[in-house]
Structures are given as C-alpha cells and as structure tokens.
Amino acid sequence: MSVLSNLEFFVVEALRSIRRSGLMSIVAIGIVIISLTIFGMFLLFMANLGNIVAFMGSRLDIVAYVDKDLTADAAQVLQTSISQIGGVDTVVYVPKEEAWKNFREEFGAKLDLREVMDENPLPNSFSIKVTSPDVLPKVAESVANFADVSEVRYSGKLIKQIQTMVDAVRLGGLLLSVLLFFATLLIVVNTIRLTVLARETDIYIMRLVGATKSFIRWPFVIEGVLMGIMGGAFGIMILKFSYESVLARIKDALPFLPVVSDPNVLTLIYLSVGITGVLLGMLGGYISVSRILKEKG
C-alpha cells in the first residue's frame, strides 16, 4: 500500500478540498505569493549586496613597502613567500622607478614635480590582491611580519564598515524571513484547518472504515503542497519579470554597478523560493490535520 499507488486518490481529494473552500484557498495562495515574493526579493538583494562587496573588495589591494636597498633577487624571494600566504590572489612587484613614473603620470600634468624634488622619494613595493575582502586584515598582518617589509597599507576600515553593514542586513533579512515564514505558515494552517473542519464527517468515516492516520493526512499535505506550488509559481513569475525589468534599467543608467545577472545564481534563487513554498504548504497541511487526528485518537 504505497503512497504512489494512492496518489491519484490523494490528489483528487486535495483538489476537491481546494475547490470547496474556494475563496479562502485563493486568499491563502495570495498570501503565499506575497510572502514568497518578499522572501525572493530579499534573496536577490542579498546576492547583489554580496556581489558589490566582493567587487569592491577585489579592487582594494594591499600595498607592502619594502626596504629601499632590497636587491632584485631578495625581492623575488619575498614575492614568492607572499604569494604562498593563504587568501593571496596575485602579487605584483612594483619597483620604485615604476612607482615614480606612475606617480608623475598621474599628477605630473597638475604640477611640475621637478620643482619640488629631483630624486625619487618612493620605495619599492608589492601590490597584493586577495581572493576575498574578508581575508584582507589577516593577509596584511602576515605580510607585515616579513623582516624586509617596512610598512603595510590597505583600506581595512572601509571594508570593515561595509562588512558590518552587510552582516546587519543579512541578520535583519534572516529574521524577517523567519517571521514571514511563520506568519504565512499560520495562515496556510488555518486555511487548511477550515477544510479539515468541513471534512470532519469524511475523516470520521475514513477512521471508521480503517484508514491509517497517514492515509488520512496525505490529502491535506498534498493540498498544502499544491497551494505552495501555485504560490511559488506566481511568486517566481513576479520576481523574474520585475527583476529583469529593474536589471535592464540599472544596466542602462548605472552600467558600472556589478548587479547579479548570472542565470545560474538567479535560477538558484528562484528555485529556493519555489522549494520554500512547497515546504510551507507541506508543513501547513501536516500541522492542520494533526491536531484533529490527535484529539480523536
């Protein structure tokens, strides 16, 4: 007596029940749609925020100044050592002549440096890029420990502030999602409970003729799942269309902003929204019928 062989019966019963409690079912599905859409928006927002932070992080590098009289060979050795630190992406050696040249090219038009100084005042340095902004402070610390490194600079403060903000948003969003999940669950449970009450005689007869508890439960769980699927499908459609139109506008107006447009990431987000909907419905159906089964033993 597997679930599969009875699936037709369960689905027919579930559809019968959704149809019978028409308006209430529509309201419940509507609320599932709204909740899932908000949840999906939060996921999209977080993905974009993460993208922006990563983008900014990748542009921030560590500059390590080394002693003036470091030989080219010693610099080579140091470069290899730095590149072996965990979290280091690339290490580029910038000799003082190149740094001076870059500096003059950048500012030379504005002032004649020769008037101020003749000699190159800049030290040799390494420009270090890291794999993620999180590791910046750690890498900087490790680099500073090398004896030949005289000074290390990076925009740690800015990164830290951004990271703190992202963490706060993430936590707030998570709490909001949990809250939303339970609020929606409550509505789904109550909607299905109405149909449970309407079907009390059905349930009584089912128990009387020897239906097992799980058998009685299945149609209600499937009813919830169907509501979840419908809510999820609409939610995903709303998200997809609105995100795509926003995306098009942002790309037009702010082309430098690193928005998430990777179809894999987006599919994953839409999939999570759908799965959350199904879970919501499943749990809602299960809870709503459990109480009546418990009461009646």
Partner: protein, 227 residues
C-alpha cells in the same frame, strides 16, 4: 467471536456507562442489544471497534484483545468490522458508488478490486441502479441501504448496527431488517442495538437487555421485554 470480560466504563464526569459486563457472542450469531436510551448500548458497540476504551476489563474481538491495541493497530481492527448508523453518515458530495468505494479506497485497495466489490455490495443491498445518485436524492431506507453497503463492502466478519431503523417507517424498517438478516446468513456476525420492540419480537433472536449499564437479561430466541 466476541468476548467481554468484566468490562466497565466510567466517564470522567462520573457517569457509569457500563458496569461489569460479561458477554460472549459466537461466530455468525444475530444478537439484539435492547434497552432504553442511556442504558449503554452505544457505548458497548463503540468498545468493539475501539471508539471507546473500557475503564477496566477486557474486550476481545476475533481473538484480538482490543483493549491492548496501539493506535497504529486500530485501523486494521476496523477493517474487519462494519458499522451501520441511525443517521447513515453518508458523504453528501459523493455519489452512492463513491460513498461505498470510499471505504475500500482508504484501505489502499487496487482499483479493479474496488470496482468489483463496490458493485457486489450495491447489488446485495439492491442499490445498483442508484449508483450515480447523490445521497440527498435518496429516501431514508435507500440511504440506510447505502450505509449498509459501505459497511459490508470489504466483507467484514462482524457487522454492528446502532439503531439502524431509528429514522425509518415500519415498512422500510422491515425491509432493512430483512436485508440485515440476509447478510447475517452469509456468515457475518451481526449485533444490532435497538429499542424497536416490533422488530425484536418479530425476528426472535438472542436478546441482551441492558439497563443502567448492566446486563439484566440474556435470552436466546427472546423478545423485547421479558415475559
């Protein structure tokens, strides 16, 4: 078939529904349980399919100690017991066929089996022609026939009828009792709770009389009142 040993039922509100009931009912017997309302007839019936559990004593049905069943085992007990109600308890939005088939569907029976057994049961109670009608289109007697068909569709060895003719006129009552008698003769143990004097006196079967939760008479070929 059925054995009740020192069965008592005391409700939490202090009502003593049954008091030290001892009863043996053999296979294929036809037993009337009689007595006024509140005598404990319905409670006694509910004990048999474990809708109620006794406060003390043991209930044995078909060699199974019903009192000791876990909740998970109860459904399997009930598949061997058919129950007929005074108010029929038919599902209003389902046809006659669906109402009867429902009892088989919920036990996970195969589709071909459901169809065959449902048709047979409807044939037996004489409702095959009304298979696609809805309960509201039926008379009281017809509803009771459908209720009986549902109770016997999976061929239970035991059929319980709680006031099966309580809502029916004398002619229909007679027809329903004939039908129950026919089912009993197909080797189904039948227990009928009633306070209809006429049918008990007419059928002359074993009569168990309850009063205030006690058995005060147990008589073969009995009548409604002791004479």
């Amino acid at each position: 078939m059925i054995e009740l040993k020192h069965v008592s039922k005391l409700y939490t509100n202090g009502v003593e529904a049954l008091l030290d009931i001892n009863l043996h009912i053999g296979k294929e017997e036809f037993v009337f349980i009689v007595g006024p309302s509140g005598a404990g007839k319905t409670t006694l019936m509910k004990m048999l399919y474990r809708e109620e559990v006794p406060s003390s004593g043991q209930v044995i049905v078909d060699r199974v100690n019903v009192t000791e069943l876990t909740p998970d085992q109860v459904p399997y007990l009930r598949r061997n017991i058919g129950v007929v109600f005074q108010d029929y308890k038919l599902l209003p939005r389902r046809t006659v066929y669906e109402n009867v088939a429902f009892a088989l569907q919920v036990t996970g029976a195969a589709r071909s089996q459901i169809r065959r057994h449902t048709m047979q049961a409807l044939e037996l109670v004489g409702m095959l022609k009304r298979a696609s009608s809805f309960p509201e289109e039926l008379s009281g007697g017809e509803k009771q026939r459908v209720c009986i068909a549902r109770a016997i569709v999976n061929n239970p060895p035991l059929l319980l009828a709680d006031e099966p003719t309580g809502n029916l006129d004398p002619q229909t009552t007679f027809e329903i009792m004939e039908l129950l008698d026919k089912i009993n003769r197909r080797s189904t143990t039948l227990i009928t709770a009633t306070h209809n004097k006429n049918i008990v006196d007419m059928m002359k079967r074993r009569v168990v009389q309850l009063e205030a939760g006690r058995v005060i008479r147990d008589q073969q070929l009995g009548t409604y009142s002791s004479s």
